[in-house]
Subunit: 150 residues, 2 copies
């Protein structure tokens, strides 16, 4: 049930650029240094974000990467799905519509479907801006009181 480092770093990159860009292109090396990640690994992750149109790149001197839109217009679910492929907890609900041949009689499918909806609903409702400004109420919701240590 773990989100891979790829997904976590992808989100970290998006947040880093949102915080450090000011409309300028942010070079990879700067992000890697700030976030303490290797240039090379980061490169491969950023490539995915560009292909998914989350970032815009510029080659050459003064080049780098910047967001393709406003932080509030990114939802976290879509960012993570790019690198993770899917966020569905089981294979049978990866392809929407196409299910396994035992779906009609499968007792556990409703559980996995429900779990998928809950995850999608949560991550789809959080924006990059929420993370950047630290909107704890939205991220932690009703649980905010219980986690005063955070």
């Amino acid at each position: 049930m773990m989100v891979s480092t790829k997904g976590r770093y992808a989100l970290t990159v998006m947040v880093d650029i949102a915080k450090n860009s000011n409309g300028e292109y942010v070079p990879l090396a700067d992000i890697a240094r700030r976030e303490n990640l290797s240039n090379k690994y980061l490169e491969s992750i950023i490539a995915i974000l560009i292909k998914g149109e989350m970032l815009i790149s510029l080659r050459g001197k003064n080049g780098g990467y910047k967001l393709s839109r406003e932080p509030k217009d990114y939802n976290i679910s879509k960012i993570l799905k790019l690198t993770e492929g899917t966020l569905a907890p089981v294979n049978c609900i990866i392809q929407d519509g196409v299910t396994c041949d035992k779906a009609a009689t499968c007792s556990t499918l409703p559980l996995w479907t429900g779990l998928d909806r809950v995850i999608e609903n949560y991550l789809g409702g959080i924006t990059l801006e929420d993370i950047v400004i630290g909107n704890r109420k939205k991220m932690l919701g009703d649980y905010c009181d219980k986690c005063s240590a955070l």
Copy 2:
């Protein structure tokens, strides 16, 4: 973000026994045949469920496995945690209390914490009985209308 086959099969086993026991011990081979799983792999998964006190076993003739309590007294989160180790989406919140050294300044931690709570809240609220009787309202909740195909 996938639940492994171990976790899925563990839940499948619990449901199978709940449905086919009637207080008797259910032999492994019967479960394997019904669920179309290999005896040997199932064996290793059931061993985990026994160690976690989810099942009671009896050796010898007429032996097998049965539930250690009523279906309504199992919550799905605990069953899955046994085989999955944790359901937390990132390492930094695996050990409750102990977090990574950058926790205080980590922008994304509240997101991962929130996601963890949402998952735990959902799976912790569903019981084995809900799955056995097919309580779609509880499992699919507000989304139940939208998934008439299921």
